[in-house]
Amino acid sequence: MRAEAALAERRFEVRAAARGWHRAGAIGEDVRAAIEAAYPDDRARLGPVFRVLVFGFTVLAVNALFGLFGVIMAAALTRSDGIPLLFFGLVLVAATELQLGPLRRTQGGTESATAVVGLCYLLGGLLWLVESAQLGSEAWINLALILVVALCGGAAWRWGYVFFAAIAALAFFPLLARGPGGRVTWVIVPLVLAPVLLRASDSARLTPSHRRSCQAVAVVSLVFLYVAVHLGSWDLGLVEALTGEWHASRPPPPFRPLFAVATALVPLLTLAWGIVARRRLLINLGLVGVVSALVTLRFYVHVAPLWVALLAGGAGALGLALGLRRYLDSGPAHERHGFTAEPLFADPERRSALEVAASVARLSPAARVAERPGFQGGGGRSGGGGATGEF
């Protein structure tokens, strides 16, 4: 990453923190202004709505331009083995460099659009070129995954986009699975990689976006670790399916209980790690894993009817949250062991808007229909005020 872009990122972090302190009323307008003066931002940025719009219209315009080129040069394009795609991709990569460098654009929509589309064209061109060499499908898939890892990894390193780091990691693990001992590598690699990456995500030597990229790759690694040790993935032969070996390479049945134990244990260990290290990322991942483990348990062992499981789970979640909140709140200065239920400096508006949107989308009642439907013992949705029970 360019030095001036890295400096701008670091300054932006401080400005964003100051905005949070100001929003929470912890500092006044004068202090915020002083901080912003001490950490000036020289980048051209857009707000979230304009950024999304600009991104969308850039993607549209760029692809339409290529489509126009394709219509004009249709005959040459089909015989080109992907060279025009490569050329177009390189032009867009250069445009991204120009915007992030001399034009000092960040979070502006256009530079991320040219980066994403440029990489897609580069990848498409390279794969087309490889296809013309007729290497065979297995080699082609391996090469495609290697290209995704290399291109997205390079883009994440150069431009600092977390999205590319996550995509590179998502391609890296299927690539590993295609080698010898796929499932074992899905266990060993995350166990080595995740702690290293999480430690790196605290390093002042890395830029903020590189630190976030480390976190993203660590999360992807831990997800793949869980998939590797998950009982359902074992029973389905999910990892082996990627190599075409299916059930052939699986250990003998006595190992199956280990997967059952690991399905429950890995999320709990992740949660414990998150609590001990005070890492919200791991706590969130652990919580999701615990829910997944409970669903798996219900799938394999019918400990109780579904309605009991849901009601007990829901009531348990509500009780747990209320209990935790009370426990944290009753500590000195409303904190215990470095945790608090107070909002600190987060933006409550953003979360509130998300909750309203999610509730309207998920909990809204089904609309009335022209004729009275009658009671359906096992069918239609019913309810009011958001009730969506499957009556």
Binding site: W307, L322, V356, S364, V369, R372, G377, S382, G385
Partner: protein, 319 residues
């Protein structure tokens, strides 16, 4: 941990920009020595509400014969009453302005109470039919009830539900638009008209809330849902008729212009996209030529981009 912020806090503290107390607190947060788990607790509460409602649905469906309708109805009403009583006990003092929740779980227990009440009301209506042919009015009753609780408890989540329940009463699902919304024929046309009317009511309500300065902070919920319904209703007809494309262009452009003047970014975006779809629909549908299509989208895409960047500068300059 955020080492950049931690270092900055140290520097700002030494320079006197931050007081020692501020620097100590901000430094602890930046070094992850103090972590807020409030978002996680809220997510767990929200998940709990979803799971309970899912359980209620399955309970009613699978145990109707065993428990009997009266037992189920009584159970639902009791659970709803318990949740609502808890919520009302922890409700903030009433205010026409924003009233901060006094308890982290308030919004979610209120939401649970409203959802359980809705489920109980719907169950009673379907099973015992007290409203007879006017059965669908239970949605209106529920909408008004939810709106009253939303105002009392200052809950935007419940306000959103009140509005979407009102839309459901008019035959429009706000959760992702019903399949029939996109179908063709008389029924779909009727639904679009209902969606349009509901959208206008919501947009008008948003305007009234701001004008009267009563729960003005609910305005974004009403206005955004209203415009989503209006634009969605028109967009759903775009495939059918040229008039819908023209309407979409005119209404979208009007919304974008209005939102631009008032500095409402999200509404501006909605209007712009709608207007672009409408205009592109008119132009491209008339000319079945790939070259022209690509030319249109590349030229107008660049044009809109330039316009957006100029608009952003103007809006930022005004702010």
């Amino acid at each position: 941990m955020n080492p950049d912020v931690a270092a900055a806090v140290g520097r700002l503290g030494r320079e006197g920009t931050l007081t020692p107390g501020q620097a100590a607190l901000f430094g602890r947060v930046a070094r992850d020595e103090l972590v807020s788990v409030r978002p996680e607790l809220r997510a767990v509460l929200y998940g709990g509400v979803l799971a309970v409602m899912g359980g209620v649905g399955v309970l009613v469906q699978q145990n109707l014969d065993r428990l009997g309708p009266v037992a189920i109805a009584v159970g639902l009403w009791l659970a709803a009453a318990a949740a609502l009583l808890w919520a009302l006990r922890h409700a903030p003092p009433f205010s026409w302005g924003p009233a901060a929740s006094t308890h982290l779980a308030f919004d979610y227990i209120l939401l649970l109470g409203v959802l359980l009440t809705g489920a109980a009301l719907a169950y009673v209506e379907v099973k015992f039919t007290p409203l007879g042919p006017a059965w669908s009015h239970h949605l209106l009753v529920m909408s008004v009830f939810a709106a009253l609780l939303a105002v009392r408890g200052d809950s935007r989540v419940v306000a959103g539900l009140a509005l979407s329940t009102f839309a459901a009463w008019r035959g429009v699902s706000a959760s992702p638009f019903q399949r029939s919304f996109w179908l063709r024929g008389d029924a779909a046309a009727t639904m679009r008209v209902e969606a349009l009317l509901a959208g206008l009511v919501f947009a008008g309500l948003g305007y009234a809330l701001v004008r009267s300065d009563r729960k003005a902070h609910f305005e974004p919920v009403a206005t955004h849902l209203g415009w989503l319904l209006i634009l969605g209703a028109i967009t759903a007809g775009v495939g059918d008729e040229g008039g819908a494309r023209l309407s979409l262009f005119v209404v979208g452009a009007g919304l974008a212009a209005l939102a631009f003047r008032r500095g409402r970014f999200s509404l501006f975006g909605m209007g712009l996209v709608a207007a672009y779809i409408g205009l592109s629909g008119i132009v491209v549908a008339g000319v079945h030529d790939a070259f022209f299509g690509y030319l249109w989208f590349s030229a107008t895409g660049i044009g809109v981009l330039v316009g957006l960047l100029a608009a952003q500068r103007t809006m930022r300059g005004r702010a």
